[in-house]
């Protein structure tokens, strides 16, 4: 057997900075997600459902919601659209739950960290992959709704109101997106089985929302609503748009959402920093 081989030679190549290295992780992650039918379907259906239902609310506001004032406070309704909760949970579960868990399971994490990548770089990249996708559910439909309202009913929803609604939609939508991104990455970092992380995501959103709402109304203690992130979000969104609240104070709800977001991010970072890659 005769095999001829080229020879290997060393050479120095000027290397780019941290931003490019992080972007390399993001680009690979996004390419991976947009190859997965489940991810594409949940993004497409999620954006379509939340946008269409929100626009229907605008088109038929006077029929569906008689007595609802058609001003800035109206936009609290699309922001509290139940489809947002469902699809945010679904997206965080389908996409977010695997972002770290899959890397731990496939040992791709070992290869990532054999490169000059810090744990913070890695986590930042994963957050940048997930947050914009979640924002497509939490922000984009609300922005489109405000634009549609101003285009179709300029006499009812002035451009001034629409622009205010867009600004507030971006703020509350980003809050919800960051919360779900942070919690999804935290859950994903805890396990090599993304199914567990996905179940945790649904459990955290629905498993707290439904019992908290039932218990709060059954025993007449609205403070129980603070336990549910979705109720906290509704309290903040209602206050932002000047709509009637849901029975809990928005500053407390905002503090809980921000606190959990920051805490989950911090714990995820510390966990990943201390994780030892064991392959058996």
């Amino acid at each position: 057997m005769s095999i001829s081989l080229p020879t290997y030679s060393r050479l120095e190549i000027p290397l780019l900075g941290r931003r490019e290295r992080v972007w390399a992780i993001i680009a690979t992650g996004l390419r991976r997600e947009f190859r997965r039918p489940a991810a594409i379907v949940v993004i497409a259906i999620g954006v379509a459902f939340t946008t269409i239902t929100s626009i229907v609310l605008v088109l038929f506001a006077s029929f569906l919601l008689p007595g609802q004032p058609l001003n800035l406070s109206f936009f609290a309704l699309p922001a509290s659209n139940g489809f947002v909760l469902f699809f945010v949970s679904l997206m965080a579960a389908i996409i977010g739950s695997g972002l770290i868990a899959d890397d731990l399971h496939s040992m791709a994490f070992t290869l990532y960290l054999s490169r000059p990548i810090t744990h913070l770089d890695y986590l930042l990249a994963k957050a940048v992959i997930l947050a914009p996708l979640v924002s497509m559910i939490t922000v984009l439909p609300l922005v489109i709704t405000a634009l549609v309202a101003a285009f179709l009913f300029p006499l009812v929803f002035s451009w001034g109101v629409a622009l205010q609604a867009i600004g507030l939609s971006v703020a509350v939508g980003l809050l919800l997106a960051l919360f779900n991104t942070s919690v999804a990455l935290f859950l994903s970092s805890l396990t090599r089985r993304k199914g567990l992380a996905a179940a945790g995501m649904f459990g955290g959103n629905f498993g707290l929302f439904i019992p908290a709402s039932i218990l709060a109304s059954a025993i007449g203690n609205p403070n129980l609503l603070y336990l549910s992130p979705w109720n906290d979000y509704l309290a903040v969104a209602s206050a932002a748009f000047g709509a009637p609240g849901i029975g809990i104070d928005w500053p407390g709800a905002l503090a809980i959402l921000l606190g959990v977001t920051v805490l989950a991010a911090l714990v995820t970072y510390l966990r990943m920093k201390s994780v030892e890659v064991i392959t058996g």
């Binding site: 490019e20 070992t110 990532y112 960290l113 392959t279």
Partner: protein
């Protein structure tokens, strides 16, 4: 302490399991083989060296630095893991390019260097196929390509020959030798002593997490030659291959443990590995992979540790 790798009484526990047990060794320049049976602690040592495990006791340095969470040091090393991979949907070219981009290499350079590295390991023709369709030997070569494509100072190779076909082995060993000739350092693990012998005389024997012998390979060889060496060959025609190999005088037995597999025992492994490619080539039989179970090496280790 001026070796490429210095380990002083390094211990690592996984819960109640001891991965490394007061491991002490110094690996010099050039190629060093880390030889030991499965579970001896080779991968644990490598994970400590690339900073993905933290020692519970003792001190370990790579190129004079503590590797734990040492990001700049990672620019200087190339790591080829035994079992992991990035994403199977990436082609070989994309796989290497992606990891080069993680090093901070500009896109154009990453493309060029990835192509060059894949050529060095003999994967040019498969560079644009998804890695999930690669054979085990091809995946090993792709991982070797990503380890050396950014021109590191040291290569840390965990079982780089595991599952590789004969031609792949030639590529891999030749690549490792060329890298070392060019001034690079190589630390490679295997549970098959004869694989190391082709590229270096410097070996460290590891067993139960301890370095039990270090130095020249020939002293160890004398011990091992008293035990027949087993080679498992994956082939679609195991009986025809056994017939062809039977003309080797040093072959002592054949077994057919499962379909498409031939287990050969030989008293002269070096001669066996030298003659095998020619026989495969002459008979035009399909050999998909070679693997050596570590039972023969185990016998030597049992002898060494009493």
């Amino acid at each position: 302490m001026n070796g490429v790798v210095e380990a002083a009484a390094v211990s690592k526990w996984y819960g109640e399991v001891l991965g490394l047990n007061a491991f002490t060794a110094s690996f010099g320049k050039g190629i060093t083989g880390l030889v030991g049976p499965n579970g001896a602690g080779k991968s644990t040592l490598f994970k400590l060296l690339i900073g993905q495990l933290h020692s519970d006791q003792g001190k370990i340095t790579l190129l004079g630095e503590d590797p734990w969470n040492n990001v700049p040091l990672k620019r200087r090393l190339g790591y080829c893991p035994e079992q992991n991979q990035l994403y199977g949907w990436l082609t070989g070219q994309q796989f290497v390019e992606t990891l080069l981009r993680l090093d901070g290499m500009p896109a154009a350079s990453a493309r060029t260097e990835a192509t060059a590295a894949l050529k060095v390991v003999g994967l040019s023709s498969a560079a644009h196929r998804p890695t999930r369709g690669y054979s085990r030997g091809m995946r090993q070569r792709a991982k070797l390509a990503q380890a050396l494509a950014h021109h590191p100072e040291i290569l840390i190779l965990d079982e780089p020959l595991s599952g590789a076909d004969p031609a792949g082995r030639v590529h891999i060993l030749r690549t490792i030798s060329d890298f070392a000739k060019d001034g690079g350092h190589v630390l490679m693990s295997t549970h098959v002593l004869y694989e190391i012998e082709r590229v270096t005389n410097n070996i460290v024997l590891i067993h139960n997490g301890k370095a039990i012998a270090a130095g020249n390979i020939h002293a160890i060889r004398a011990l091992i030659d008293t035990h027949p060496h087993a080679v498992r060959i994956e082939t679609s025609k195991p009986r025809q291959l056994a017939q062809a190999l039977a003309r080797m005088e040093h072959v002592v037995s054949f077994e057919f443990p499962v379909a498409d597999t031939l287990l050969v025992r030989t008293r002269k492994p070096d001669a066996f590995y030298k003659e095998l490619p020619q026989i495969v080539s002459d008979t035009k039989l399909d050999v998909r992979g070679l693997e050596s179970p570590d039972d023969s090496l185990d016998a030597v280790f049992r002898y060494l540790v009493g």
